[in-house]
């Protein structure tokens, strides 16, 4: 029980930190601050540009923060 509690706290602490890193990159790529990363904006990052199509799940031509974190967050 104690171990599960420690594990739970550990995960709770770790997950936001890891998601924050993808979020950090997302914010840096979102040049016009509209909450989306377009294909043009993604060109600043080779990995994101290369995987853009895979990450764009709804195929609307841009990555929402959720799509971005799902693809690039740990």
């Amino acid at each position: 029980m104690k171990a599960i509690l420690i594990l739970g706290i550990g995960l709770a602490l770790a997950t936001p930190a890891l998601a924050q890193d993808a979020s950090l990159v997302f914010t840096a790529l979102d040049a016009n601050k509209d909450g989306k990363v377009t294909q043009a904006e993604a060109q600043k990052n080779a990995a994101v540009a290369q995987m853009f199509a895979q990450a764009d799940k709804n195929k609307d031509g841009s990555l929402s923060k959720a799509e971005f974190e799902a693809a690039f967050g740990k």
């Binding site: 890193d21 950090l24 990159v25 840096a28 080779a46 990995a47």
Partner: protein
């Protein structure tokens, strides 16, 4: 008649001796001797000279007793594959104690929320910042381009006296320099706002004793007009990230 034969014999001996010396000195014994560098052939040649001059090794001047043996940097192959096999993470730990992550990186720690004119965060040039992307083979031109981690005391020496803006520019030179695979090529940066500038280059690449790719680098920067140099060693961690290790 006897004198002429003796002369021919002597000449033939000298020629044979000279050619044997040349052949033996150049012999690489199936490619291995050449790996010992010039010291091996140099030592052999000196031994041959001793023999021809009927001189004992101990009669040489002390400075001539040095065979200049220099082991090749990548000598791991002489131990078979034992040192280079097994879990890369374990091998790294044994050799360098720990793996470095983006959280060790001084730019990430101190500058990630500041103005980033070099696009370090946007480009995720810090290794592991977009871990999944690297894991899936992201990179420039279809090739996996590994990020850098400039962390710890060793990394600190590289970015000493640089502010976050300077580092934002300089990181691009580290990233490009390590990944280009070219030696002696200068990668330059300049901060137009402060006038600070610098140059980074990889002097040579080699494989360490457990098989990781490493690079000896040098940097020269000018902060407020004052020159500052740094040299060091970086190796590619199991995840491909370049980390400063020496």
């Amino acid at each position: 008649m006897f004198k002429k034969s003796l002369m021919i014999l002597t000449a033939a001996s000298l020629l044979a001796g000279a050619s044997t010396e040349t052949v033996l000195a150049q012999s690489n014994f199936g490619g291995r001797a050449s790996s010992y560098g010039d010291g091996y052939t140099d030592g052999y040649r000196r031994g041959w000279d001793d023999f021809r001059m009927k001189r004992e090794y101990s009669e040489r001047a002390p400075q001539d007793r040095n065979y200049n043996y220099q082991p090749v940097p990548d000598n791991s192959r002489y131990y078979g594959d034992q040192r280079m096999s097994g879990d890369p993470n374990q091998r790294w730990q044994q050799q360098y104690q720990r793996q470095y992550t983006y959280q060790d990186d001084s730019y990430y720690r101190e500058c990630r929320t500041k103005v980033d004119p070099g696009g370090i965060i946007a480009g995720a040039l810090i290794g592991g910042l977009l871990g999944n992307a690297l894991g899936k083979g992201g990179g420039r031109g279809g090739a996996t381009i590994a990020g850098v981690v400039v962390g710890g005391a060793l990394g600190g020496a590289l970015t000493k006296n640089m502010d976050c803006e300077d580092r934002s520019y300089a990181y691009n030179t580290y990233y490009d320099g390590f990944n280009a695979g070219r030696t002696g090529v200068p990668y330059q940066w300049r901060n137009p706002r402060s006038g600070n500038y610098g140059e980074f280059r990889v002097n040579d690449y080699y494989n360490d004793r457990v098989g990781f790719r490493c690079a000896n680098f040098a940097q020269e920067i000018y902060i407020k007009g004052r020159p500052q140099t740094a040299t060091g060693r970086a190796c590619q961690q199991p995840d491909g990230t370049w980390a400063i290790v020496g």
